[in-house]
Symmetry: C2
Subunit: 162 residues, 2 copies
């Protein structure tokens, strides 16, 4: 049955909007919100019914939550269905998200900046860009790399605090 409680709906909507801001599908957040406030694990059909979304959305949404470590399948004896429950430790979720998503992204970004510098050096040698133009870009890119490095060094510290 669809959710009746207006209070629960408010939270579900809020989590959905938060996820949208973070670049995740809104339904993913809604499912997490639903599970977060449910003291028994829910099946795909209950999720779909409760949120008024299709079973397909519920399937893909739960899969994403599993991948993020934000939900887990629980097995109940004598029940053929997959049942899901929320992982309620938000801090742990963020910590995991940092290592799984943010950190690799930062590493890639660092590498990309170095590539750009190399590219510009080559273009300077081929006189495709002026030397003073190159010097300016180099200065900016070095500052950028410096910031990235500093950011990478404080990030684990931040991660500890959550």
């Amino acid at each position: 049955m669809a959710i009746r409680s207006k209070g629960k709906l408010q939270l579900i909507e809020a989590v959905g909007n938060l996820c949208r801001r973070l670049g995740l599908p809104r339904t993913v957040g809604q499912i997490y919100g639903l599970l977060y406030l449910s003291h028994q694990p829910l099946s795909l059909e209950e999720i779909a019914e409760g949120l008024g979304i299709s079973k397909a959305s519920a399937s893909t949404g739960t899969r994403q939550l599993l991948a993020l470590g934000a939900a887990k399948k629980v097995w109940v004896p004598g029940n053929r269905r997959d049942l899901f429950e929320a992982v309620p430790e938000i801090g742990a979720l963020l910590r995991n998200a940092y290592w799984e998503i943010v950190k690799p992204y930062l590493d890639a970004a660092q590498h990309r900046v170095e590539q750009v510098v190399a590219h510009l050096e080559a273009e300077r040698d081929q006189a495709l860009i002026g030397p003073e133009d190159f010097a300016f870009c180099q200065k900016r890119l070095e500052a950028l790399a410096r910031f990235q490095k500093n950011f990478q060094s404080v990030a684990p510290l931040i991660e500890k605090l959550l």
Copy 2:
């Protein structure tokens, strides 16, 4: 003229993608990338031409950058056009973004959770939700509020480190 340097284009594209991830229009990031690597301020038309976007996009994009404090107008004597240059201090930008965007959002979220609790209490009193269901939700919401509070207290610390 359109950008020739492949190196510059790589960085512009990367910043564009980063902004897209953060929920900002890609063009905003592209404009910032362009300005970040340009040692003279650029006009709307130069931006539009350089990135291959419309003047309208350049106009709205620069306005957003100004609002974010990520660019500023500079005035050059004897030039009727608005000229833009990047604010290159990334750390300061993030710090500003925290106070202008993240902090208000967190405050609103805190308040919203309290509202949800109040709502649920009312619904329990009206027997719209079972008492054990309410107790579970209350427990979860308290944990959530606790996390938010903790997060709010460490956030300024994080902000200092950048």
